[in-house]
């Protein structure tokens, strides 16, 4: 426990170096910006900036990319509360009570509550990571290929089935993603796979091209001419409007604590990102409330709890990624890709081999969150005014950033075309109601899973029983089975019953 604090002290020394501090600030600023702007996603922003970090040192690169993730969570609530636009999935559920509060003229209070909830949630998530991640890493040190393989399977299954939408379709998408991940020359034998004779594909599918196709181009294709122009009500918000009254605090703070706990629990389960955490928190809050019927009419708790949950889960999500090398959702898969590109192998050895990155990252979470509060509380009026930028201006600019970002990944125009193809595929999949996020998870984990699968079987001399003979691996596989069984049960038990609260439709077409 005390070693963790000493290490964290060292981490602050890293995070407060002027270089690192500036990049952390850049990260949270960009994150906050894209969080506010409807039509720009966190994943596409990280993908655009990813190639730019190739030339950077690894510590500032990771601090900046991580900053985008949690910075975006601060901005995302603004859109939900003031405009009823759930464009950022983790904040979709905040619309339910946030927007009614805006209609009552209490939008400022709702924003204030969401910022306070963010602080509490994030702080708890960071503390959790400080003390918990090293423990997990020590535990994971004993993992052999069989354990890693089973754990990855669990992560993939959870990511595919616990996300929103059909579990079967989610599994299909992780399988598709893994195939894309295998494309290129096989490391062990030199056989080109799934390249169809295209020489540019021998290096494999470019991570940036895939991510920007699925989350950039496909998103533009889906949203063009479908995002209604914004009419921001209460555009003049100042610091004073944010302050909640004492009664609102008494209502909100316990909800924040409950939301925080839900979020940190969700962060432990691989595959459940902040979106699920926020939905679960809202459902819990409604369940234990004495007045559940008043949810949806502007309850403070309905904003406080999911917001706290989102933030604590965003911070906690870093735990499996940084301590075991198993990302919990597509965003963390992207960060894992960034680490790999920097030549750092994420896994249980990361903390001891690269303490600068791990502890510097945790310290930068504290620094970044403080910066975000400073950015949001006094400047809330500026962020709100940004909402008025129309989509027809945003998407052509974003499109050009996408093209340049992909080009700079390999300095090749082939990848730009690749992005376009993935964009079209992604659009088709979205139209067929597939969730595209698990593709990225499968893409990043697929090759590593195959490698561990091969190694495990090489060790056991071709005996598949190795996966159940090792107790830890057997536990992971048992969890996979339980997960699948629970999905099948839920399908037949709760047919037609909505488990999660409904949110307003994402795209609003104006006639």
């Amino acid at each position: 426990m005390s070693t963790a604090l000493v290490d964290l002290w060292h981490g602050f020394a890293v995070a407060l170096q002027p270089d690192n501090l500036i990049w952390c600030f850049v990260g949270v600023l960009i994150g906050n910006l894209v969080g506010v702007l409807p039509g720009l996603g966190v994943l596409s922003t990280v993908s655009i900036l990813l190639p730019l970090t190739f030339g950077m040192k690894s510590v500032p690169a990771i601090l900046m990319l991580a900053g985008i993730f949690y910075g975006a969570q601060y901005g995302g609530a603004i859109c939900s509360i003031l405009l009823n636009l759930p464009v950022h999935p983790p904040h979709a559920v905040t619309c339910l009570d946030g927007f009614p509060l805006t209609k009552q003229g209490r939008g400022g209070t709702a924003l204030g509550i969401s910022i306070l909830a963010a602080c509490i949630g994030a702080a708890f998530g960071i503390v959790e990571m400080t003390f918990f991640a090293p423990v997990v890493a020590r535990f994971a040190l004993d993992f052999g290929p069989a354990e890693i393989c089973s754990l990855m399977l669990l992560g993939l299954l959870a990511g595919a089935t616990l996300a929103r939408g059909s579990p079967l379709k989610g599994i299909a998408m992780t399988l598709f993603g893994q195939m894309l991940g295998l494309a290129g020359v096989d490391m062990n034998t030199g056989t080109p796979r799934f390249t169809f004779g295209v020489l540019n594909l021998y290096d494999g599918v470019e991570l940036v091209a895939l991510a920007l196709g699925l989350f950039g181009i496909a998103e533009f294709l889906k949203s063009v001419n479908r995002v209604a122009p914004m009419h921001v009500s209460g555009a003049r918000l100042g610091f004073r409007d944010l302050l909640p009254s004492r009664r609102e605090l008494r209502e909100g703070v316990p909800a924040m604590v409950r939301g925080t706990l839900v979020g940190s629990l969700c962060a432990m389960v691989p595959g459940t990102g902040p979106t699920i955490a926020s939905f679960v928190a809202y459902a819990v809050e409604k369940k234990i409330s004495r007045t559940p019927e008043r949810f949806g009419t502007g309850m403070i708790a309905g904003v406080a709890s999911p917001e706290a949950s989102t933030h604590s889960s965003v911070q906690g999500d870093f735990i499996p990624t940084m301590s075991m090398g198993i990302p919990g959702d597509s965003g963390m898969a992207l960060l894992l890709g960034a680490l790999l590109i920097q030549g750092i192998t994420p896994g249980p050895l990361l903390i001891s081999e690269h303490p600068d990155i791990f502890w510097g990252l945790i310290a930068s979470f504290w620094v970044g969150n403080i910066l975000l509060v400073l950015l949001n509380v006094p400047l809330i009026g500026i962020w709100v005014r940004l909402l008025a930028i129309p989509y027809r201006v945003l998407y052509p600019c974003a499109l050009c950033f996408v093209c340049i970002g992909v080009y700079s990944a390999k300095n090749s125009l082939f990848e730009v075309g690749e992005t376009l193809v993935f964009g079209m595929i992604g659009y088709g999949l979205i139209m067929l109601r597939f969730q595209v996020a698990p593709i990225l998870l499968g893409f990043v984990l697929g090759p590593r899973m195959e490698e561990n699968f091969r190694n495990a079987l090489a060790i056991s001399g071709g005996n598949l029983a190795i996966f159940v003979a090792h107790p830890i691996s057997a536990v992971f596989l048992a969890l996979c089975v339980i997960l699948l069984a629970a999905q099948v049960y839920a399908r037949f038990a709760a047919r037609g019953r909505a488990v999660l609260p409904r949110t307003p439709p994402v795209s609003q077409v104006e006639d």
């Binding site: 939408g165 299909a172 399988l175 056989t191 001419n225 093209c403 340049i404 376009l420 079209m424 795209s507």
Partner: protein, 161 residues
């Protein structure tokens, strides 16, 4: 009730199509994987894992199709997505990316940004040529300064074909 049933019909068709697509992709991968060496269990060849993936994808495809026929709605109609794409936006966004590739190929970064933004911007139904030109010009200047000079992108800024 009749409304719900009316809505379920396209969902069912969509799920059947999704399932068949997965089946086809899975079988395709399976066939492709068979052309690589499968190897033995103690020494897996490059084709083994892709073959498993392909087989599983085909199986999932069958399951999706079957559950669509059985009427257990696999996809929630929670997102109000339109069924037909917005063709004008579609065309202009696709053409915008192609314009970027083509112009970057022959004449460098600044014209590529200008062309991509202009073409993409025209995809909006409310777009005017003047607005598009202004936006494209602005982005070309900002982008060239940001990426060309500050971040040093590896592409000529401007060259004659």
């Amino acid at each position: 009730m009749s409304l719900a049933a009316g809505r379920a019909a396209p969902g069912k068709r969509r799920d059947i199509l999704s399932g068949l697509l997965c089946l086809a992709a899975g079988l395709g991968a399976l066939v492709e994987a068979r052309s690589y060496s499968i190897g033995s269990l103690s020494q897996l060849g490059p084709g083994f894992y892709p073959a498993i993936l392909g087989g599983l994808l085909a199986l999932v495809g069958v399951l999706i199709t079957v559950s669509a026929f059985a009427g257990t709605a696999a996809s929630e109609p929670d997102e109000a997505l339109p069924d037909a794409p917005d063709w004008r936006g579609w065309f202009c966004i696709t053409a915008g990316v192609l314009a970027f590739i083509g112009l970057a190929w022959v004449s460098g970064l600044a014209p590529a940004i200008f062309g991509a933004v202009l073409v993409a911007a025209l995809g909006d139904r409310g777009a005017t040529l003047r607005g598009g030109l202004l936006l494209a010009l602005g982005m070309a200047i900002v982008g060239t300064i940001l990426f060309g000079y500050l971040l040093g992108i590896n592409m000529p800024l401007w060259q004659m074909p």
